[in-house]
């Protein structure tokens, strides 16, 4: 079996007074998009910088296709495209010149450089802006340029630190499509973001961090299953809502009940059979149920449930 595209192994990194990353491990496969989420200061940027060879851990290691970023940083760099959370282009260069420079820096030459710059610019929707000064771009255009620059050397792993911040809704949708296309072409993407609904839509897996520690990780389905027993059920009834409330309160597995008129929201501990049983018994008991839904945990719920809001 070949090595995973990215393997973070028992990573520790401290700053004075802050333990930014504690014993973090996870892997990422080819073709996979992994969301990297956590409250501010959770250690996402720190981890990504270590993986991108820009920082060194106190302990632990990161492997890209089996190559340690600590032992062979240069070999690892060739395989990684790292898009940092800030972008400052050079003054006095236009978009194309900017890309051309980084293509040269990546060792591309002659015709190959021209075609690469062209196709990357077109892939990121930058062609119309080719002769704009790179410093004069809007935030979203800047992000596209940044991403284009990150892809010039055809890295197999993209590490994107909050790439979607500052993009308008349309640009975000385009960006998502872009990443999906890249993943479909076999690239692995580690992406951090605070816009959770969006990550949920494109990620195959997530790693949730809090105070430098991994609190949960896995594919979204796995995590949903894991946190399902605490999932919220919404029930709306017609008629005697008090009777319905009494019924629900006596039922085992129903957690703290919230009532809003004839609408009840409660966490339900139990599997789908138990839930079906609850509904059947409710109807049998004369409760006139008109709406009964179990909300699947989305990334936001997972995030809220697994993190405690501790900042560092």
């Amino acid at each position: 079996m070949s090595a995973p595209l990215l393997e973070v192994r028992e990573l520790w990194r401290s700053y004075p007074r802050v333990q930014a990353v504690r014993d973090l491990s996870f892997t990422l496969e080819r073709g996979q998009i992994t969301g990297f989420v956590g409250p501010n200061g959770a250690g996402k940027t720190t981890t990504m910088r270590i993986a991108a060879t820009l920082d060194v851990p106190d302990r632990g290691d990161v492997f890209v296709e089996g190559t340690s970023v600590l032992v062979e940083p240069r070999a690892a760099r060739a395989r990684i495209g790292y898009m940092s959370d800030q972008f400052h282009p050079y003054p006095n260069l236009d978009v194309l010149e900017f890309l051309d420079f980084f293509a040269r820096a990546q060792g591309l030459r002659g015709r190959q450089r021209l075609t690469t710059v062209r196709s990357v610019a077109s892939f990121c929707g930058l062609l119309e802006f080719a002769d704009r000064p790179a410093t004069g771009l809007s935030k979203g255009m800047g992000q596209r340029l940044h991403l284009a620059k990150t892809m010039l050397h055809d890295p197999s792993l993209l590490i994107l630190d909050e790439p979607a911040s500052g993009l308008d809704p349309r640009a975000r949708i385009e960006f998502r499509a872009l990443l999906k296309e890249l993943a479909a072409a076999g690239k692995g993407i580690l992406i951090s973001s605070h816009i959770l609904p969006e990550l949920g839509e494109m990620c195959d897996a997530v790693v949730v961090l809090e105070r430098g520690r991994r609190v949960v990780s896995g594919t979204i389905a796995e995590i949903q299953k894991a946190v399902q027993h605490e999932q919220a059920v919404t029930m709306r009834v017609l008629g005697d809502a008090d009777a319905a409330e009494r019924f629900l309160l006596t039922w085992p597995g129903v957690g703290s009940l919230r009532r809003d008129g004839a609408r009840f929201v409660f966490p339900f501990a139990g599997d789908e059979t138990a839930l079906g049983e609850l509904l059947a018994r409710a109807i049998a008991a004369g409760v006139r149920v008109v709406e009964f839904t179990r909300t699947e945990a989305d990334l936001e719920d997972i995030f809220l449930q697994t993190t405690k809001g501790n900042l560092q």
Binding site: V56, Q86, L93, F102, R113
Partner: protein, 510 residues
């Protein structure tokens, strides 16, 4: 994304962009990307256009003034040349380096340099690119002022060799100043040092160019160069200045590179090899150009200076982190012999100590081999002082290495140790004096309590010509100090040997 990539080539761009490489594209492929970018940026930027315009304006003014003041056999040509050089110099030792400084700073501040480091550009190439860009600017500025320089030649104010040598020195100054500027900008990686670096660079370069304008404007520069060109010391001076420039440039770039390299890369070997090369270059120059009769003076003065340089380098070497980084461990020379020889040059304070001891032996050995003998009194004194410096170097640097062990093993610990060590010397100098003051009311004279004060101790014993009574002490302390360092030095070698063994083992199993 290469051209072969399926997704990207699928999206065919509209054909507004060139697809066929132009001659410029192909030709510029061979250049350093940094150079290409810097030139492109300065062509588009304002500073360059402005300075070229000013330089042109000044040269026209000078030309007009010169022509008006022209009288046959007057020194209008010389005046024009002085004015031209005085215009050129601030451009070369202030504007060009400051541009390099600014561009480096900008890259560091915006985190662009990290993006560069993630590309295939290694720090060395980035820094060379900056120097090359400075060279291009040098050529352009000289070209702008060339008509003026040519006029001064035609007016018979200055001869061709003077012009060429002046430009050569200007080139040396420009390159050295740029390297200095780039290296002080690179130190901005540590934000705490940035204001200091800003101030030092601007002030240093500003003062230098200010002083030079006075020097050249008054005609003293042209006069000196003119004199030099006709003297028989011309070659040795030019070679000496070129070598000094090269050394300054290499050192600046090593410093800059050490700030840009990955934390686990080798930042030490360059410095250590540089240190070992210095005596060879310096003594080589002496042997090549100096009459045999003055070899003793030069060897003694250079030897003493190189000893001090070695101690300064040593201070850095013995305060590094102890262990090899995982990266270096995986890259030590595989063979037993090569790893043994290379070990003192590899990072780590234990090996740094070994390197320092080797350097002292190397320097002493070179001086001894080349020593022609002397009858001069001051040279004898200088040599004795140097001899007495050795035990101090060993004791204090040993102390520094020991102190470093108590500090955190981070890079910050290295910096702290580098401040603490000189501080320790100062404390050892002041403390006995304070005790004297409290016990006796004054500091009357040297006594054995002041033995840790190298300057006073060496001076007193040199003055009293008590050489023979101190010699056994000096030798004893050196040997004792060395013996104390032996376990550390062995440990340093052993770490490399072990890493080499692991590599051999891997190679066998693989």
């Amino acid at each position: 994304m290469t051209a072969a990539d399926p997704i990207v080539s699928a999206a065919t761009p509209p054909s507004t962009l060139p697809t066929e490489p132009t001659r410029w594209t192909l030709w510029s492929d061979r250049l350093n990307p940094i150079l290409v970018r810097e030139v492109l940026q300065s062509v588009k930027g304002r500073v360059f256009a402005l300075t070229v315009f000013v330089a042109l304006l000044v040269s026209v003014v000078i030309a007009v003034v010169t022509v008006n003041a022209y009288e046959p056999r007057g020194d209008a040509g010389r005046m024009a040349f002085n004015a031209g050089i005085a215009t050129l110099m601030p451009l070369l030792i202030f504007v060009v380096p400051m541009q390099a400084y600014q561009s480096m700073r900008l890259e560091l501040r915006g985190g662009i340099v990290e993006q560069l480091l993630l590309s295939r550009l290694v720090p060395r190439r980035i820094l060379w690119g900056k120097l090359q860009a400075a060279l291009v600017q040098f050529v352009l500025y000289v070209a702008v002022l060339a008509p003026l320089l040519a006029t001064s030649y035609l007016l018979r104010g200055v001869d061709l060799p003077t012009i060429l040598v002046s430009l050569l020195f200007a080139l040396c100054a420009c390159v050295a100043a740029t390297a200095f500027a780039v290296s002080s900008a690179a130190q901005g990686v540590l934000p705490a040092m940035q204001p200091l670096a800003n101030l030092a660079t601007a002030a240093g370069l500003g003062l230098a160019s200010f002083a030079f304008v006075g020097f050249a404007g008054s005609g003293a520069y042209t006069y000196s160069v003119g004199w030099l060109v006709r003297s028989n010391e011309c070659t040795l001076t030019i070679v000496g200045i070129a070598l000094a420039t090269a050394a300054a440039v290499v050192l600046s770039l090593l410093v800059a590179q050490s700030f840009l390299l990955h934390a686990f890369e080798n930042k030490s070997t360059g410095f250590r090899v540089f240190l070992f090369a210095l005596p060879v270059v310096a003594f080589g120059w002496v042997l090549a150009f100096m009459p045999r009769s003055s070899h003793d003076e030069f060897l003694a003065v250079f030897g003493m200076s190189l000893l001090v340089v070695g101690i300064v380098f040593g201070q850095f070497m013995v305060t590094e982190q102890r262990e090899l980084s995982p990266r270096l461990r995986a890259h030590v020379p595989k063979s037993r012999l090569a790893s043994l020889v290379a070990a003192p040059f590899l990072p780590g304070r234990d090996r740094g100590m070994a390197c320092l001891v080797l350097y002292l032996a190397w320097l002493g050995g070179l001086v001894a081999v080349l020593w022609p003998g002397t009858s001069s009194r001051w040279i004898g004194e200088l040599l004795r002082s140097a001899g007495l410096c050795v035990p101090y170097a060993i004791v204090y640097l040993g102390l520094g290495r020991w102190l470093r062990g108590f500090l955190p093993s981070s890079v910050a610990g290295n910096h702290v140790a580098r401040v603490l060590l000189p501080l320790a010397v100062v404390v050892f100098m002041i403390l006995p004096a304070l005790v004297d003051l409290m016990l006796r009311g004054d500091v009357r004279g040297w006594h054995v309590g002041h033995v840790m004060n190298p300057f006073w101790t060496i001076d007193v014993h040199n003055r009293a010509e008590a050489w023979s009574s101190v010699l056994p002490w000096a030798i004893g302390v050196s040997i004792g100090g060395l013996l104390l360092q032996v376990p550390a030095m062995v440990r340093g070698q052993a770490e490399v040997a072990a890493a080499a063994a692991v590599r051999r083992e891997r190679a066998r199993t693989a």
